[in-house]
Subunit: 215 residues, 2 copies
Amino acid sequence: MERYDIPLPTVKRFPSYLRILNQAVEKGTEFISATALAEELGLKPIQVRKDISSTGIEGKPKVGFSVKDLINTLHKVLGWDNANNAILIGTGNLGKALACYGGFEAYGLNIVGLFDVDENKIGDNVGNLTVKHTSELKSYIMDNGIMIAVITVPAAHAQSVANDLMSYGIKAIWNFAPCELKAEPGVAIQRTDLATSFAVLSVKIKKSVEDSFKF
Amino acid sequence: MERYDIPLPTVKRFPSYLRILNQAVEKGTEFISATALAEELGLKPIQVRKDISSTGIEGKPKVGFSVKDLINTLHKVLGWDNANNAILIGTGNLGKALACYGGFEAYGLNIVGLFDVDENKIGDNVGNLTVKHTSELKSYIMDNGIMIAVITVPAAHAQSVANDLMSYGIKAIWNFAPCELKAEPGVAIQRTDLATSFAVLSVKIKKSVEDSFKF
DNA sequence: TAGATTGTTAATCGATTAACAATC
DNA sequence: TAGATTGTTAATCGATTAACAATC
């Protein structure tokens, strides 16, 4: 089986494509062209065609791509075609927000357990889940074969929590703590950082302010 | 005054640099080398040097860069040197999480007003703020000269909220709704999307699973 | 058929990395 | 002085864009 990697910028655009495609399904649209997708997202048609071609899917000239096929293929490429059970550690505000956020099922992520060190939070209901103590992590992960964990603890504790999780068999960590985590081989870690995103907005603001002063 | 744009990938790394630099300040470190920064973040020294050089700051061979100077310069480049008052619209779980999140001051963002359409939420306390009704948006924005808004409403309402905000004089929108917003000229919009980040983790997982099956 | 859209190869653009002289 | 680190120019790499033939 040949392996070739889809460029990361392309992967990052896939969720946007899926969003438009899901809207198309709801409208009953059967085929969609790269041109239409591009229009909807403010991208260039060539880029969308290139991105789609990287998945190997084929379209029909003049017609476009089967919406259903595209969705299935993108799901498969991203591994969102089968639900993954995940746990979340750290039920502060962000943790609770993520636990209650309904949108994750759309991408095959199913949060089934919440954990915290704080004795006062144990037993609290968040969404339809009950917060458990972190001392139960090991048995919960092993009993339920959990592979994915979401970390929303303070930065100071993130690495030690991650180390524990990896020793219990967790293979993927979605890290919301503002610090880089060191991964064991074979463990995938991805950090989501609000500051990074805000930095981009900040330079956009600066630029538009500067632009408004020169003419 | 000459204008040259700092590459976006570079801008995205600046918050990480700042994080390490702030740690250095707390330890009392006065100078830090690009090599040390790179080591800390798992980047290559050349890349860090290139990034820093794009700000125009100068270092001392063998010694490195003044931690204080670097922090000040990065803050200035990002426009994080003077506090910006902002409002947040949509006090669902994510909105509340962001409103309570204490880390924004570090990047000059100060959330001073919370708004929602839901009558049941008006008057609720979130952090040390009280939720106001969206009918008060216009006067609040104009009276207080607010330029920045954070949108955490459902996707279906995001564009109309954004349109209102822009008509009231908002110049920058940080959009957490899963949809693209159309901006008026002169308005900066940045979307933060959890799905994008999770897509990257997903392909990492897929790859490490595939790797574990080939030897 | 005519024309819109796909798919592919080549050209361009921009970021990363390498190489190395300058310097404290 | 010797050596680590900076700063800069050039080479490499990879993504975006352009061009165009194939096709329904």
